[in-house]
């Protein structure tokens, strides 16, 4: 029986100009004790769906049609007081960013127990007892201490546990988790997802898991609903959906994953999602669909049940469990994802070394009091060495706080190293005078994660693209104009972009402009710091393909920094894995990902949720606990405090050793494979 059913739910959001029809007749069902995954790109309406259920729509937002049936009662027709009770007591919600969903001025205990005090009128002491109990159940170490802490004293993963505890304290029957792990590192993500799974069984509740990550869905949900442009386009059991997706959008999404790259190219979905404030006819995916016909563009396509699958399923489950999709030309061929590795690209062995980093060290004063006294030094980068050859991509992966971005900024000359050498084209940039430094910037350029933040909002695109040329005094204004037009062609944007401001572009377009700006000075090396992590899968594929094409065309080298192993695996020729300021493993991309030698690398790989439900995550090398502080990092091997293989000898520092595939570990998992 279903706990929550949405029947033709429609939600509008009134904006300054016009109305956005955020949801258009959404039908969903969640049954007791099951996890429903809602997946879709940004703007697809997945968050609006859950906000409509919880009554938390943004200003101007309103449910304009349909029913929200919770336990058989329509929430839209309940009296306000009863509605508040149902939403407050029987539903719990976990938001994306644990930092902003906790009140920084309240102690953890008081926040967790707030619903009890509001809805049940418990005394302070009783509430505290209950808070400690629930914190223990979400796996919080030392809950009796934590209750008296403030949110800023906890790490991101710990905070998310607190938020989950808050949602669970009234024992809700429905838990809604909106991108619960997007702001977290993969190893923490895995812990949190496991926790939600365990709690679902323990509390016998239903879970709605909203995410953009197909991998998260594949490993955790029982059923999946795929949303696009305010509609559910396909719904099926997880196994069924990943085995045989029927909607062309679902297929395109899976093909766009870096894991499913074939022949070194990703399938990218052309164009952008439609503007929901305009009236739309026909299938909303039709303008971007390879298989669209005139019929798709004119007829309203509704969800239909997959006849074959329904017949097969009738004996065991009811019709609501059937595979439904809204597509006139559904997929009939099999879709294969995962396993088909990116083809190793041939980088000539004798290419010149363009960047050579030796024993790079960067330390910061840790929160001094302004009078020269400091509690210690933050060791952000501690003795990192690597080379990048011309035309090659070096990927650097690691969790937040491992120092990968600092390495990027040091190489780009934005910060000066505390020690070590950065040799670009034969010159050590640390020892340059002002003028030489100035021209060094022509060789190395930076590409940012959030191109919107990296562009002056008050400058037009032409001014933004001209800026590097002006600073380096390249050509006269006519030559600069030519160069800018050429750059726009290279990144596939129309000339009309020149007169616009950054806020008028979508994330993917901004990333193209950012890349164009990095290319303006014809650098030989581009340091790309998380260039696609803010983008949706389909747009990410466009940008990654573009970066690869330009690399082949211009002979660029990239230092590609990312927390996402699958993206790095696709982009990089060689991969370096960083942990707490140290490079723990460097080697050819294929080998690092498929035959990791360092236990940390293996743990990272295992923690990445695979978009293939048959891959069950093995518990073997899951690492627990939190990243130690970089103020006083562990001596010896920095990973030894969390390493399952650690022994006494690990207190001495292991050197980075090996041939092409180096590892810094006393007990490498594998011997180097002989090439």
């Amino acid at each position: 029986m279903s706990l929550l059913r949405l029947v033709d739910l429609s939600t509008d959001i009134a904006l300054r100009r016009g109305t956005v029809h955020a949801l258009d007749q959404v039908n969903l069902e969640v049954r007791q004790g099951e996890t429903l995954g809602i997946v879709g790109e940004s703007g697809s309406g997945k968050t609006m769906t859950v906000l409509s259920i919880m009554g938390l729509l943004p200003p101007g937002g309103q449910v304009v049609g349909g029913q929200i049936l919770f336990d058989g009662r329509d929430l839209r027709s309940l009296p306000a007081e009863e509605l508040r009770r149902v939403r407050g007591v029987e539903m719990g919600m976990v938001f994306q960013d644990p930092l902003t969903s906790l009140n920084p001025t309240m102690r953890i205990g008081a926040q967790v127990a707030e619903p009890l005090r509001v809805h049940q009128g418990l005394s302070k002491a009783e509430a505290r007892e209950r808070a400690i109990e629930i914190l223990r159940r979400v796996g919080m170490p030392r809950p009796d201490k934590i209750v008296d802490n403030y949110p800023h004293q906890l790490s991101g993963g710990m905070r998310q546990r607190v938020v989950i505890a808050m949602a669970l304290i009234r024992s809700p029957r429905l838990l809604i988790a909106d991108e619960p792990t997007t702001a977290l590192d993969v190893t923490t993500q895995r812990q949190i997802l496991e926790l939600i799974d365990d709690l679902r069984e323990e509390f016998k509740m239903a879970v709605i898991l909203v995410t953009h990550d197909l991998g998260v869905i594949a490993s955790r949900a029982d059923r999946v609903a795929v949303m696009y442009a305010g509609r559910v386009v396909e719904t099926a059991t997880t196994a069924e959906l990943f085995r045989s997706p029927r909607h062309r959008y679902t297929q395109a999404l899976m093909n766009a994953l870096p894991e499913s790259a074939t022949d070194g190219r990703l399938y990218s979905i052309p164009g952008l999602p439609p503007d929901l404030s305009r009236p739309l006819t026909g299938c909303r995916f039709a303008p971007r669909c390879r298989f669209a016909t005139d019929e798709c563009r004119t007829t309203d396509v509704r969800l239909i049940t997959d006849v074959a699958a329904a017949a097969e399923a009738r004996s065991t489950v009811d019709a609501a469990q059937a595979h439904q999709f809204a597509c006139l030309h559904p997929v009939t061929e099999a879709v294969a994802i995962a396993g088909s590795a990116a083809a190793p690209r041939a980088v000539t062995g004798k290419a010149d070394t363009i960047l050579s980093v030796r024993e790079l060290v960067k330390e910061y004063e840790a929160g001094g009091d302004g009078f020269g006294r400091s509690p210690g030094r933050v060791s952000a980068v501690a003795g990192v060495s690597f080379d990048v050859k011309a035309g090659e991509t070096l990927g650097i992966v690691g969790e937040s706080g491992c120092g990968k971005s600092t390495v990027g900024r040091l190489v780009a000359g934005l910060e000066t190293p505390t020690g070590g050498q950065i040799v670009i084209d034969g010159t050590d940039i640390a020892g340059l005078d002002r003028r030489a430094r100035h021209s060094m910037h022509r060789q190395v350029q930076l590409m940012f994660q959030d191109s919107y933040a990296a562009m002056n909002p008050r400058m037009r695109i032409d001014a933004i693209l001209a800026e590097p040329l002006e600073i380096q005094q390249v050509g006269d204004s006519a030559a600069r104009r030519n160069r800018i037009s050429q750059l726009l062609d290279q990144v596939g944007l129309s000339r009309r972009a020149l007169e616009r401001y950054p806020h008028e572009f979508s994330g993917g377009q901004l990333q193209r402009i950012g890349l164009a700006r990095s290319l303006a000075l014809e650098p030989r090396l581009i340091v790309a710091d998380e260039p696609v992590s803010a983008l949706d899968v389909s747009i990410q594929a466009q940008v990654l393909n573009l970066m690869r094409d330009l690399q082949t065309e211009l002979g660029l080298s990239y230092v590609f920094i990312s927390h996402d192993l699958s993206v790095v695996d696709y982009m990089a020729d060689r991969i370096g894995v960083m942990y707490l300021g140290k490079l723990v493993e460097v080697g050819p991309a294929r080998e690092v990902v498929r035959a990791a030698r360092h236990p940390y690398t293996q743990a990272l790989i295992d923690a990445v949720p695979s978009p293939d439900p048959s891959h069950s995550p093995g518990p073997s090398t899951a690492i627990r606990g939190e990243l130690p502080s970089a103020v006083n990092p562990p001596t010896g091997c920095r990973f030894r405090t969390r390493c399952p293989l650690a022994q006494d000898i690990c207190a001495t520092e292991p050197p980075l050793q090996g041939g092409a595939h180096q590892v810094a570990c006393h007990f490498p998992l594998r011997q180097e494979s002989v090439a």
Binding site: L15, R16, S268, P270, G271, L272, A412, G413, L414, R437, H438, S439, M440, H441, R442, Q445, L446, F448, D450, A453, A454, M455, N456, P457, R458, M459, E467, P468, I471, Q472, D489, Q490, V491, G492, L493, S494, R496, A497, E499, R500, Y501, H503, E504, Q509, R517, L521, Q542, N545, L546, D549, L550, E553
Partner: protein
């Protein structure tokens, strides 16, 4: 020339930023009211004398304290026989000119000072901001009085005196903005291209602080008009026969108990209206520069 996806077209018309800004501004009714009031008062002060001739130089002791409505004097006359309506126009000119000029001077000086201090940071910031702190610790009104009693206040002198003290506020404000703006990624991107600090201040810090600065400028102008009024009220304004609203208010106050209300209310109301007008305009501009309204 590349193998990338086709050029992405976007049919939305190119809209200039100022045009969008104008639309937002026009949505704020009070801001439009502010503009209207200011336009009316400015027209009254500067265009009024063309149509309504009065002698504001020679006193006429035969016509003192005529009440409003007396033939030829719709608002009556003051204690030395000047026509009150004509005097309001002349006084308005001084108030508006001094207010605008001093407000703008203070804003420009304060913005440049604050932007440099905030962007440079370190000891330069420390020294520059301690200068501001030191000057702020002296009560402005007291200093105005001191200065005004040393030098003879003429209109340019008033502008300089008021400007010299009013820039402290904008300096602090812009420094705060600069402190956050300098850590923005676009400033980092510019440094990654080899750009210098001067360029950062010129092209990135000041243009992005301009919203705050413009909003503040309107309040500065309102304040400057009030300062002129204070000084004149204390008898330290431009000497007669020149007039301004503050001085007229001061003169009128001494006649309150004689029942000469027409000497008191008109300049008082004019001051309130113009200060209010600039505050409304400032509010409207704040909406315009509120980027959150813009990005959707």
């Amino acid at each position: 020339m590349t193998t990338t996806t086709s050029v992405q077209e976007d049919e939305a018309p190119v809209r200039a930023m100022w045009r969008q800004g104008l639309e937002v501004f026009c949505e704020n009714r009070l801001a439009l009211v502010g503009v209207a009031i200011f336009a009316l008062l400015a027209a009254f002060s500067f265009l009024g004398p063309i149509f309504y001739h009065t002698d504001q130089v020679h006193t006429d002791l035969a016509k003192v304290f005529l009440s409003p409505g007396t033939a030829g004097h719709p608002l009556g006359t003051d204690g030395v026989g000047y026509d009150q309506l004509g005097r309001l126009m002349v006084g308005g000119q001084t108030s508006i000119v001094v207010g605008l000029a001093a407000g703008l001077l203070a804003t420009v000086v304060g913005t440049v000072w604050g932007a440099i201090a905030g962007f440079a940071g370190g000891w330069a910031d420390a020294v520059m901001m301690r200068v501001v702190d030191a000057m702020m610790s002296i009560p402005a009104l007291f200093l105005f009085m001191l200065m005004a009693s040393i030098v003879t206040p003429t209109v340019p002198m008033l502008i300089v005196i008021i400007g010299a003290f009013a820039w402290l506020g904008p300096a602090r404000l812009v420094r705060g903005e600069a402190l956050t703006l300098r850590t923005r990624e676009y400033v980092m991107a510019m440094r990654g291209m080899g750009g210098t600090g001067g360029r950062a201040v010129r092209r990135h810090i000041i243009p992005n602080a301009i919203g705050t600065v413009t909003v503040n400028a309107t309040f500065q102008i309102a304040d400057a008009i009030l300062y002129v009024a204070y000084l004149s009220f204390l008898g330290l304004g431009v000497p007669p026969p020149a007039a301004n609203w503050g001085g007229m208010l001061s003169d009128g106050l001494s006649d309150t108990f004689s029942g000469h209300w027409w000497l008191l209310y008109p300049p008082g109301i004019a001051i309130i209206l113009i200060v209010l007008a600039f505050n409304f305009i400032g509010d409207g501009l704040r909406d315009v520069f509120e980027v959150r309204l813009r990005r959707r």
